[in-house]
Amino acid sequence: MDVLIFLIPVALLLGLIGLAGFLWSLKSGQYEDLEGAKYRILQDDDLPDDPAR
């Protein structure tokens, strides 16, 4: 059972990374336009500026 000492922190860390990722993506406005995002994938020529910002 000693392996739990490693496994549980690792599991929690992975979860926290996911949470941090979500909070970051929320903050950078990636959920503002869910309708448009699905079509933008198909666009070949991206706009000159970074469109995610």
Partner: protein
């Protein structure tokens, strides 16, 4: 080109780096291709740094370098691409960033993370309890759960805490009070259990409860925000601006929020008066149909008051803007509106009614459980454990989702049917309606007048009349121009303000305008109007030939008769309350087969009539568009207005319907009845769930595993039941 400069500064915000930014509402965006076209078209323009269209909200954000491009060029490029756009007045868009929604999402994410990880630990404990887990390991897992659950609950529980405190402060009970009590007690109990290294802890129940409830809360918020954003787009596209006259005589177009009382504004012929005021110079006819329901034009001169929402028909007016308190009609409307809004706040939402019933019952059950176990000699601590488990299992998880889930699905369906809901509980009130009261002008009829028949003119005369009409901005002339599909105005046409237009063609003088202007005898005027009492008269005269009267009237909505019949068949009582004259109202009422109608009503009369109905127990849906309807809209049990309505009326109404058809009214009622049924089912299911679960909890059989299963199970059931509405609507919407 316009003869005045536009004050775009009010719409543009400058970033610290010196870039200009503007948000625009764009009309006509239907698909991804439009998005690509707009963004590419704008980006190709010099000076534009960034153009990004939001396909969800149909809003365009443009950044440019000042000096290299102008807002005018942006709007022009868009109109060249075929999209009408208008910038947002920043004063009207209060909350663009949606900070409330983001906070809910952040809470949701934290609660979700915590629930998953605690569940991971809890499942290990549950299976360990069956197979002989070591006490140290279990305690370790419980402490770890506490470490995750406590901060997460404090963070994710804030929306509930705030609302529960506000409710208790105001000496009310809402659904959040039992939620907060339940979660707090569950955490408290779990911590004490952990200290005593007991077999069970309820951390996962507490956090999962927050997670599910936050889903409901977020859905609710999204629905409100979506319809509000759409309503803001409509408002922006109406382009409610005013042309102010600067002291040096220059003209400047500014958003309404920038006009101060006392400023002078120019209202040109054919434009809407944008603000209340007094006429300083000029003489004109005013179409007051949106304000009073009256379809005949009223003439105004120097010193007369004019009201926002009315149409200036014939000549330019200079108007001094007054505050609302100076205008008698508006005063009355405002006063009635306030009174009506106060009366309405008494309506208690279904969810709050359920909460008011539910909280005392649940807390009583928990208290009785504690007393019962204690009296039977169980000791105070085990008794408290059982009592708290009753609270946990009855915590209104399903109740919290039962109504928002249905509201979200229904508002989505209504959106598709062309109805925008302003408030979620409008669905409940719509479902209770048994009487429908229509305003006539602009509601049963279309807001734009149309020529009744042009067959009285031969083809060449009709073409000439239409081309002549193009030279006037008078609404009657505009109706004729539309009806004849004229495109080229006659050369040298002159407009006589308040009388009509005339032009010379091949030596003959053509005249189009009032009866006196064209020399039509009074007897013929009466004869022409006898057949169509609600119509207005426009006369065309070709040289020495006899003048021809043309009737223009507001056409009844295409499907009004059909919708009225359908509503009657569905068991609704129909009535018309109008501010217009008796004859035109009678004509429309007869056409639609509505027997109960009244004309020439003032705003207060309409409210009095509504109160009479309310006193007999009737639940009235008021459908109206005018300023004179606004108090009645606010006073009625529930109200709708067409998208062409004046701002005040739309603000007072619970829902707005789009388009030229009346069918959305019927559709809204049908959908709301179905939604109401689903809400009732959900509430009954939640009750049933409690009836089954509470005895187990009281008897002390509820383990955290059972609590978790019961809670998520019941939440899924009510959500699925709400989604069922969409299936049912999907099969029937092809029929409609």
């Amino acid at each position: 080109m316009t003869a005045y400069e536009r004050d775009w500064e009010a719409f543009v915000t400058l970033s610290p780096e010196g870039e200009a930014h503007m948000d625009l509402a764009v009309e006509g965006v239907t698909c991804a291709a439009c998005m690509v076209e707009i963004e590419r078209g704008l980006s190709a323009q010099p000076g534009i740094r960034k153009a990004r269209l939001n396909l969800t909200s149909h809003r365009l954000a443009v950044d440019w370098t000042p000096g290299e491009s102008t807002p005018d060029q942006v709007v022009e490029t868009l109109s060249r691409l075929g999209y009408r756009a208008h910038p947002f007045d920043p004063a009207q868009v209060r909350e663009r960033a949606d900070s409330a929604g983001r906070e809910l999402l952040r809470c949701l994410a934290v609660a979700g993370f915590a629930a998953m990880n605690i569940m991971l630990l809890s499942v290990s404990v549950w299976s360990g309890n069956a197979t002989g887990i070591e006490t140290e390991t279990r305690d370790f897992f419980h402490w770890l759960s506490a470490l995750i659950a406590l901060p997460a609950a404090v963070y994710a529980g804030r929306p509930f805490l705030r609302s529960a405190f506000a409710a208790v402060w105001a000496k009310r009970l809402n659904m959040d009070v039992p939620i907060v009590i339940g979660v707090t007690l569950a955490l408290f109990l779990s911590v004490t259990q952990t200290i005593q290294s007991a077999h069970h802890a309820y951390f996962e129940s507490a956090v999962m409860l927050l997670f599910f409830l936050l889903i409901g809360r977020y859905l609710d918020h999204t629905m409100r925000r979506r319809t509000r954003a759409f309503a803001e787009n409509i408002a922006a596209l109406k382009a409610e601006t005013a042309v102010t006259i600067l002291p040096d005589g220059r003209l400047r177009e500014v958003p309404l929020s920038k006009v101060e009382p006392g400023e002078h504004i120019l209202v040109r012929a054919g434009e809407r008066v944008s603000l209340d005021g007094t006429v300083l110079s000029g003489r004109s006819d005013i179409d007051q149909s949106l304000v009073t329901g009256e379809t005949a034009l009223a003439s105004v001169g120097v010193g007369d008051p004019v009201y926002a929402g009315t149409m200036n028909a014939s000549a330019n007016l200079t108007v001094a803007v007054t505050t609302a308190s100076g205008a008698t009609l508006l005063d009355e409307v405002t006063r009635l509106l306030e009174a009506a809004a106060q009366a309405k706040s008494r309506h208690v939402q279904l969810a709050d009614r359920a909460a008011a019933l539910y909280s005392p019952l649940v807390h009583l059950a928990a208290a009785l459980t504690f007393v019962g176990w204690w009296l039977s000699g169980a000791g105070w601590q085990p008794s408290l454990v059982v009592a708290i488990s009753v609270l946990i299992i009855t915590c209104p998880c399903a109740l919290g989702l039962a109504i928002p889930a249905v509201q979200v699905v229904t508002s989505g369906l209504m959106f598709r049917a062309g109805v925008l809901l302003h408030s979620g509980d409008a669905v409940e009130r719509l479902a209770e309606v048994d009487t429908i009261v229509f305003d006539k002008t602009g509601t049963l009829t279309l807001a734009v007048p149309e020529v009744v028949e042009t067959a009285v003119l031969d083809d060449s005369a009709r073409a000439l009349a239409g081309r002549l009409a193009l030279s006037s901005r008078h609404p009657l002339a505009a109706a004729l121009a539309r009806a004849t599909q004229a495109e080229v105005p006659l050369p040298d046409a002159r407009e006589m303000p308040g009388e009509g237009v005339c032009a010379e063609v091949e030596g003959r003088e053509l005249r189009l305008g009032s009866a006196t202007f064209c020399g039509l005898p009074e007897a013929q005027v009466q004869a022409a109007l006898a057949a169509r009492p609600g119509a207005s008269l426009l006369v065309f005269c070709d040289g020495a030939e006899t003048p021809v009267p043309l009737l223009v009237e507001q056409r009844v909505r295409e499907d009004a008769a059909e919708t009225a019949a359908a509503l009657r068949q569905a068991g609704y009582r129909l009535a018309i309350l109008s501010g217009d004259r008796t004859a035109p109202v009678a004509a429309v009422a007869q056409q639609l087969g509505i027997e109960d109608w009244q004309a020439e009503l003032r705003p207060a009369d309409k409210i009095a009539r509504l109160e009479q109905w309310a006193a007999t127990g009737a639940r009235v849906l008021m459908v109206g568009d005018g300023l004179n309807d606004a108090p009645a809209l606010a006073a009625a049990h529930v109200s709708m207005s067409p998208v062409t309505a004046v701002h005040v009326a739309q603000a007072a109404a619970d829902a707005v319907f789009l388009g030229d058809r009346l069918a959305p009214v019927f559709e809204a009622l049908r959908l709301s009845r179905r939604a109401r049924a689903a809400m009732a089912q959900n509430l009954w299911f939640s009750t049933l769930y409690n009836v089954v679960a509470v005895p187990f909890a009281v008897a002390g059989f509820v383990t955290p595993l059972i609590a978790a299963l019961a809670m998520s199970g019941s939440s899924v059931v009510v959500t699925l039941n709400a989604l069922r509405l969409r299936l049912a609507a999907g099969s029937s919407s092809e029929r409609v």
